[in-house]
Structures are given as structure tokens and as C-alpha cells.
């Protein structure tokens, strides 16, 4: 019933979650995986880095009306049906071009992009999205719906043939067993639509030539399809078409699959087109194989040396990327602001290439920048949200606007986002939070959060009498910088490491924490160690207050820190600089049975959070979805 009901007190949540996970579920038959919430189509830290270069060849073709072609009907089935798992291959250009709100697949337009065999569960979303994209792409009546992606995909396949024959062949063989599993209803839906399209398009001759060309190109994959189609179509006659809209609705809900880094073939392909050459870490922890784990410290010189070859990346973006890579910019707000400012620069220097549409081309460019940034370091949720905002703004630009006007309006939008959602939000948070500091309080904070730092300084300026305990942890030791600034302002501080939390907690009256993100179930996604601090505080009955700007809220639900996380350089935890006598792990780095793990984030269940302070006021963690629901929409799509 109520998430904060009694049964879910101290011990319960962990147990319950573990139990939930342990329950073996037939994943293959349940398309929406729980942790990929309907919002999964935002950029998430473990999202696949999309290809950087939009295929310029494919793009113009995209929106030229593809005439519905009668002979092409069956052929057109081939790509989408043959690659059930990998529909992005051919037909998703529609998806990213039209659905600007789906940063999840920002740049899959490259038709040459190899499609990997995905597990069954992810194949469904993939296809579902495809169809959705088609729906949004063309506002033609339902009969014409399916023909655009399919027709296009055929053409596209034809164009891409030269480049990707071997891929598709491989795909064809790969996906054969999978194909049987794609739900019959889906195939039916496509076929029925195509039959309708055929009926509608009878007599249009021109199309035939186009598609037949494509058909001849894809002749190697077609035959078995052609034989199959009629039988399914026949069965379709009996099963009424009434279920189709429902089906479509369902598919619309399904988010695209996220990149799983334990999927070797996909990783291979993702690597081939990446800018930043990452080397896979050798000894990877089994539980975290789905996250990118790279050798650290190798990419920077390589990237630096190739500065002049990387012309598609704007220098400002490039610079920010390098700063992410080296860790010069860290912290949710700083990274987000840096990214937005780099984009602002890039927009300033942007000029629409001839024969192109500003909003589409700019979206593609921005997406390629983002994928570059992702390669440097996985995007934080706040950055994903900010990018989502930017993309929606680009998509919302009126077509009549001059280029200079459009650029100016985008730049001012970004500026506004930075001031309103980050700077002003912090001020509001401080104003709310300061009411919870009383004279004589002992405040504990962990790591270094800008909002908390502002709060402490503000409370000090107001003349409140309080003491601060700064808890810190290796390897980043961010707390030291915070400590330095606090002490500089004359606040009396205690500095300790996370190991001593339980010792120091009994004298603490309030715990203030920052957050990287707050998820829909109230879970706080934050610097690793936050959860343990909050749990200790809860055990000592000390209220835990989380300061988090509302733009960092995300509608995803996460129950643990495993599904989605970021892995840092394991070397920094195994080596302590300047302490030679304890560095006994130096030679063990390549040891096969040693798997170092350096997690960056953890998820704190909402039961341990007393209050979340946002720019909308102080809310209990159970109200996060309300805020997401009430405000996200108006921010992004007003």
C-alpha cells in the first residue's frame, strides 16, 4: 500500500528487494524489464554510445515520401522481420529524426551500423519502438502507417548493401532462431498494414521500380520471407484486426534496450565506430559485466594526438570531453553546466549545411557530441535530462525561424536552463533547507555537494550556531576541498572518514546529503558511500535530508546499485599514492583471480530518507513521482 508503511522499516527493504530479484522470472516473455522504466529512452549512464556520424546519405532519403509499392510489399518485410532484434539498423532513422524526445537512440541513423543479435527480451522493445516511430513520423491514416519505415528500410538496405552485406548475412543467420519468437501478433500487425498499403497504392507505378531495385539488392535475404508472408497473412484474416491498436499502444510504452556491455558482439561494433579508443579491463567483476569497464589512463594521449583529425567534434565539446576524461570536471552540476556551455558554443558556431533542415541537422550534431561525451565518461542522469531538454527545444523550433534567430533562441534557452534549473534552484533549496538548521545542531555531510556547501555557508552567514562533520572516503577525497572552504569561512568542522561514521553519528543531529539523481521510487542515486552513511544515520534515528535540484529527478525506478552504475578506475582504490609500504597489490593487477571493483554510485532506498529538499519545496521521498509527473512534462514539452 503505502511505501512508508510499517512493514518496510529498517531491515525489510533489503530483504524484500533481494527476494524480488532472486525470484526467477521468465524474462524472455516479458518485454518491459522493470528497471528500464518507460523513461528508459533518456540518456543513461550505461547507454550505448551511438554512432557519431549521421549517415548523410541516408538522411535526405528519409523524408522523401516513399510511394507505397505493391511489389515491394513483401520485400519490405525483409529487413524489419529479418532483424527483429535490430530494427534500428535500417528503419530507425525515422525514430531519431522524428522523435527528438528519444535520446535513448540518438544517432542510430547510420544504416551501415551493424546490428547485433540481442537477446529476446530486448528485441521486442526494439521493434516496438520502430513501429512507434513510424506512427509519429507520418501522420497519415493508419493504413499508410507501416509503409514508410518498411519502404524506407528497403531502400536504405539497398543503399547500405555494399557496406553491410556481411553484417546482414551474419544477422540473417543469427536471428533466424530469434525470428520464430517474435510475437506473431507483431508480424501480423505489420503484414496487415502492408496489405492495406498495397490496396491503397494500387496503380502507383513509380514506386515499384524503386523498391524492386532494393529487392534485387536484398535478394539473398528475401526468399524465405516471401514464402512465409502469405501464410501469416492468411491466418491474419481470422484473427480480427481489433487488437492491433492495443498492440501498438503497448509497443509505444516499451523503451529501447540499453547497451549491455557483456554482449560481446554489440560491444565490438560499438567500439568500431567510437572515437575514444577504450581498452577493456582484463579482470572484470562478474556481477558488473553489463557496465563498461575500461583500462584507465590510456585514452587521453591518444585522444589528444588526434585532436586535428576529429573535425566533427566542436572544440568546446572536445575540451569538455577531455576534462570529463581526466576528471577535471566532476560533480553533477558542474558537469551538466560544462556540457551545456559547450553546446552553447557549438550552437553559436553552427551553420546549417545547404539542403538541410536546421532542427534535424542540429539534433544529429548534438547527438554526436553527446555520444562523444559518453565515450569520455558515461553521462549522468542530470546531463541526460539537460540534453533531453535541449533536444526538445531544438525540435520545437518553428520552421519559419531564421537560422540566426533559432541559434539565438537556443542559446538563451540553454542560458535560462542553467540559471533557472541549476543556479536559482540551488538558492531555493538553500532557503528551504536553512529552516531545518537550528542553533546547536551538528550537521553531517558526506563527500562534496554544491547544494549542501551553499547551505552550510548560508546558514553560517545567517549566524546560526552549528558544527559540521565532513565525512569523506577514498579515493576521491572530495570532502577535503569542501572542508577547506568551510573552515576558511570560519565554520567549525570535524573531518573523518566513512569508516568512523558509526562512531561519530551519535552526536549528529542532521545529515545533509547531495544526490546525483533521485529516482521515481524515491531512491537516491548518489556518490558511493552515501547509502551507508544514510543507513547508519537511520539506525541512530538521525533525520537524513537530501538536497537535490528537481532537474535531476528521473522517472526511472531502480532497486539496487547494480543494474545501472558507473565503474571507475580500479587502480585508484588498490593503490595508495605515497604509501609504498602498503601497496602490495602493485604486481597483482593482472592476476586472474583478482577482480578489482571501483563503483562510482550507489542507490539509497527511500526508507532511509526523511526528506528531499528540491526547488519545489520539501517533499517526502514518496512524492518524487508527483513532482516528475507534474513538472517534467511542462518543462520539456510545453
Amino acid at each position: 500500500m503505502d511505501p512508508r508503511r510499517p512493514p518496510r522499516t529498517v531491515i525489510d527493504p533489503k530483504v524484500r528487494q533481494v527476494g524480488f530479484f532472486a525470484a526467477p522470472e521468465p524474462i524472455a516473455s516479458s518485454p518491459p524489464v522493470s528497471d528500464i522504466s518507460p523513461s528508459g529512452n533518456s540518456l543513461s549512464p550505461v547507454m550505448i554510445p551511438p554512432p557519431r556520424h549521421s549517415s548523410d546519405a541516408a538522411r535526405p532519403v528519409l523524408f522523401s515520401p516513399v510511394p507505397p509499392a505493391s511489389p515491394g510489399r513483401r520485400d519490405s518485410l525483409a529487413p524489419s522481420d529479418l532483424f527483429p532484434a535490430s530494427s534500428p539498423t535500417a528503419s530507425s532513422p525515422c525514430a531519431d529524426a522524428e522523435c527528438a524526445f528519444s535520446p535513448g537512440r540518438p544517432l542510430r541513423s547510420n544504416s551501415v551500423r551493424p546490428a547485433a543479435a540481442v537477446t529476446m527480451s530486448s528485441s521486442l522493445p526494439g521493434r516496438g519502438f520502430d513501429l512507434t516511430a513510424a506512427v509519429t513520423a507520418s501522420s497519415v491514416p493508419a493504413t499508410g502507417l507501416m509503409k514508410i519505415p518498411s519502404g524506407f528500410s528497403v531502400k536504405n538496405a539497398g543503399k547500405a548493401r555494399n557496406a553491410s552485406v556481411e553484417v546482414e548475412n551474419e544477422q540473417g543467420s543469427n536471428s533466424k532462431p530469434l525470428k520464430e519468437k517474435t510475437t506473431k501478433a507483431e508480424r501480423r500487425a505489420i503484414q496487415e498494414a502492408q496489405r492495406a498499403a498495397k490496396a491503397a497504392a494500387k496503380g502507383e507505378g513509380k514506386a515499384a521500380s524503386v523498391v524492386s531495385a532494393a529487392a534485387s539488392a536484398s535478394v539473398n535475404v528475401k526468399p524465405h520471407k516471401a514464402t512465409k508472408a502469405p501464410t501469416v497473412a492468411a491466418s491474419e484474416k481470422k484473427g480480427g484486426g481489433g487488437e492491433r491498436p492495443v498492440e501498438k499502444e503497448r509497443k509505444k510504452e516499451v523503451p529501447p534496450p540499453r547497451m549491455q556491455y557483456d554482449d560481446t558482439s554489440r560491444v565490438e561494433k560499438a567500439k568500431r565506430r567510437s572515437v575514444v579508443k577504450q581498452t577493456e579491463a582484463r579482470n572484470r567483476v562478474e556481477l558488473f559485466r553489463h557496465l563498461p569497464q575500461y583500462e584507465h589512463g590510456t585514452q587521453l594521449p591518444d585522444l589528444e594526438s588526434r585532436f586535428f583529425q576529429l573535425d566533427p567534434v566542436h572544440p568546446a565539446v572536445y575540451k569538455v570531453g577531455l576534462q570529463y576524461l581526466t576528471g577535471d570536471i566532476s560533480g553533477g552540476n558542474a558537469r551538466c553546466v560544462a556540457m551545456l556551455q559547450a553546446f552553447q558554443e557549438a550552437i553559436k558556431d553552427y551553420s546549417t549545411p545547404p539542403e538541410k533542415n536546421l532542427s534535424r541537422d542540429l539534433t544529429a550534431k548534438m547527438s554526436s557530441y553527446v555520444s562523444f561525451l559518453i565515450e569520455c565518461r558515461p553521462l549522468s542522469i542530470s546531463m541526460g535530462n539537460a540534453f533531453r531538454f535541449l533536444k526538445s527545444r531544438i525540435a520545437k523550433l518553428p520552421l519559419t525561424l531564421l537560422e540566426s534567430e533559432a541559434k539565438a533562441s537556443l542559446q538563451s534557452d540553454i542560458e535560462q536552463f542553467i540559471t533557472e534549473k541549476i543556479i536559482l534552484a540551488d538558492k531555493v533549496i538553500v532557503r528551504h533547507a536553512v529552516t531545518k538548521i537550528r542553533d546547536g545542531d551538528v550537521l553531517l555531510t558526506y563527500g562534496s555537494s554544491t547544494a549542501v556547501e551553499m547551505l552550510l555557508l548560508h546558514a553560517h552567514e545567517l549566524g546560526k550556531q552549528f558544527r559540521v562533520v565532513v565525512v569523506d572516503s577514498r579515493p576521491k577525497l572530495e570532502g577535503q576541498r569542501l572542508l577547506r572552504r568551510l573552515v576558511g569561512k570560519g565554520i567549525s568542522c570535524t573531518y573523518t572518514h566513512i569508516n568512523a561514521t558509526s562512531y561519530i553519528m551519535h552526536e549528529v543531529t542532521r545529515v545533509f546529503l547531495g544526490a546525483s539523481s533521485v529516482l521515481s521510487n524515491g531512491a537516491v542515486y548518489s556518490r558511493v558511500g552515501t547509502a551507508s552513511v544514510a543507513m547508519v544515520a537511520h539506525a541512530f534515528r538521525v533525520p537524513v535530508l537530501v538536497c537535490c535540484e528537481a532537474y535531476k529527478f528521473h522517472e526511472r525506478v531502480q532497486l539496487d546499485s547494480i543494474c545501472s552504475n558507473e565503474l571507475g578506475d580500479p587502480d585508484v582504490i588498490s593503490k595508495v599514492p605515497g604509501m609504498e609500504e602498503i601497496n602490495c597489490l602493485n604486481n597483482q593487477a593482472n592476476c586472474g583471480n583478482l577482480q578489482p571493483l571501483n563503483l562510482i554510485y550507489d542507490a539509497l532506498p527511500s526508507d532511509y530518507v526523511s526528506m528531499i529538499i528540491t526547488d519545489y519545496g520539501m517533499v517526502p521521498p514518496t512524492s518524487v513521482p508527483v513532482i516528475v509527473r507534474e513538472y517534467r512534462r511542462e518543462q520539456l514539452w510545453m
Binding site: M1, D2, P3, R4, R5, P6, T9, K436, R438, R510, P543, L545, S610, M611, Y616, G617, M618, V619, P620, T622, S623, V626, I627, E630
Partner: protein, 400 residues
Amino acid sequence: MWWRSASFILDNRPQNDVAPPSRPDSLTLSPPTMADAALQSPNANSAYYQTRAAHHGVVTSDWLAQAQAAAAVGRNPDDQGSVVAAEAEPKPAASESGKPFSVIVEFNNWRKQPDLAEAVAAIRALASVIRSSEATTMMELEIELKKASDSLKSWDTTSISLTAGCDLFMRYVTRTSALEYEDFHSAKSRLIERAEKFGEISTKARRIIAVLSQDFIFDGCTILVHGFSRVVLEVLKTAAQSKKLFRVFCTEGRPDRTGLRLSNELAKLDVPVKLLIDSAVAYTMDEVDMVFVGADGVVESGGIINMMGTYQIALVAHSMNKPVYVAAESYKFARLYPLDQKDMAPALRPIDFGVPIPSKVEVERSARDYTPPQYLTLLFTDLGVLTPSVVSDELIQLYL
């Protein structure tokens, strides 16, 4: 929020009108005391709790005077000053506005009706501000209204429902399409209309709650009640009238002994009642099937602020897995978020121990405590039966 009020539940049911409880004369308080309480500045003691004590306490005027005297002698030397200040206090309020009408006087008039909740009294008073306003523009009227509600709020800062009622009223009245009317007078009459409607909904709230909560009272159950809450009384009365068989345990409710009053009322309804001293709650808890309490205020976390002792009863009930139900009208929803017991403006009241207390001994005079949401099972409000987490959702939708 208001438009979603679950008042439809009243329409579906045959109205069994309940006559207002007739109080024996011995229990009603003498008017002079009431006036005293009304005029008294709430600096030292919470006016809210004095009103409650006056309305629901069995003890009468003499104890109030006695307690005040005792407080003046020993504990709180500044009480004397406040008594003096109290004499002068309402006058500036009246003279400052320069008009015969004062919202506080109006409010106190309404407040004298024991059956009228404080928030409703405030709402009525604010409605009459609109009515008697001489403003000629909408802006002027709004400012006047704002001023009136501010002065009401500052009159008694300890009363949560007063503050919440004022805020809600301002929200409800000013957030309206009335402002789009070209004609000021039609806009004003529309505001008055809305204000009246709001007052009406607020008074109906108690009935709605009583009807909603009937499903939770089953035959043969034992209900533990703490303090005197008009809503809870209404709930129990409705249950008794619909021939449900249940018994009630009433806590004594020290120091104003509101439990005695409640047991008295219930005995009149032929409901079996047992009186407990406040410390016997844990002892009797295993016989209890559910705990029913009212609330002075419902805060954003979904917890409640209520008469002292509610928290410990909720803790005991929670540890014995008994449900704790709260009956509260939605005008008690306040934009407060206490983190712990001390995180609220203290509401003090005199406590009579019957014997003189040495001046060195400190007395905890706080009148209320905060019960966190995890110890509450459900809230019965006129918006429906809510879990504690929904309270914040409602508040967010209303205020943001």
C-alpha cells in the same frame, strides 16, 4: 483538492441528521472565560489549546485562572506581562485598520461556537472580510484579504489548522477565474460565493469522514480513542447510530482531561466506554482492535500533529501491529514538515498537577506531539481515505 472532495458519499446515503450534542450546563464553560481566552495574547500559552480546553475540557474557568496564577507565580515570570499586554492587544488591531470591522473580532465570534472548527471559523471570518470590504479593485481586495489572513495567522501561530485554513482559503479564493470578470462587483460576488462554498464544504467535511470511515468499524471491535476530537466523535456517533456493536476505550487525556468529556458523550449514545489513564495504553493495547485519533494538523510528510500522547500511543499500536486511523478534515493539511518532535513551534499550556510544584522543577508544558507517517495506517479525510504519502501529493498539487 476541494473539487475532488468525496462529498458524493453523502448524497448516496440517507441523511440521518444528527442533532448537535447537547452539553450539560456543568460542562459548558462560562462566557467570561471564553472571552478572556479570546482576548489573551497567545504569547505564553497556546490560544488554540486554551480554546480546546475551554470547549472540551471538563474542568472549567476556575482551573484556567488557577493555572494562570500558578504560572505567574513560579514558572513563567513573563506571563504577567503578557496578561497585561493581552488587555491592550486587540485594540491596536482594530484601530490600525481604522475600520469598525476587525477580522480577529469576527474570528473570535465564530470561534465561540464549540461545534465550529477553528479553521472554519477563520474561513468564515475571511469571507466576511470580503463581504465588508470597501475595496474598489480586485488587487486592493486581494491585498486586504492577505492582510487579514496574515493578522489571523499571527494572532495564534500555534494553531496549525488556523494557518492551514487561511492558506487554503487564500488559495481557493484567489485561484479562480473570478479575476477574469470585467466587472469588479460580479468578481467580488463570485469570490464571496466561493468563500461560502468553501465554508460549506469545510463544515460538511466531518459528515463525509464519518460516512467514509464506517467500513472500518466492524461489529465487536474495540476502539482506542485519544483526546477529544469532534471528527472522531462524529465517526463513533455515526457507527453507533447505524447499530454497530463496538466498545471504546478512552484515555483520560491529561491535562485538560478531554477523554472524560468524550466518554461522557459516548455514554450518552449508549456505547460501552472504558476510561483509562494515559499511562495504561500499553497495558490495554492487546485488547484493542484499532486506534482512532483526530489531528490538529496533518503535515506534508503525512504525519500528524496532535494532542500530546498520540505519538506514544501510535508507537505502542505499531509495535503490537494494531492499525492507527486518523480522522482529519482536509483543511488541516499544512505545509509543514517537522523532522522530529522539537522541529515545531512549541505550543505551551498550563498544566495543573494538583499540588504546588517547586520552582526548581521544570515542567514539560508542550501541548502536542508529532507522529511520523510510518506509524499511521490510514487517514480519513473528506478527500477520501488516504495513505499518509498521499497527503504530500495533495499538498504539492494544491500549492505548487
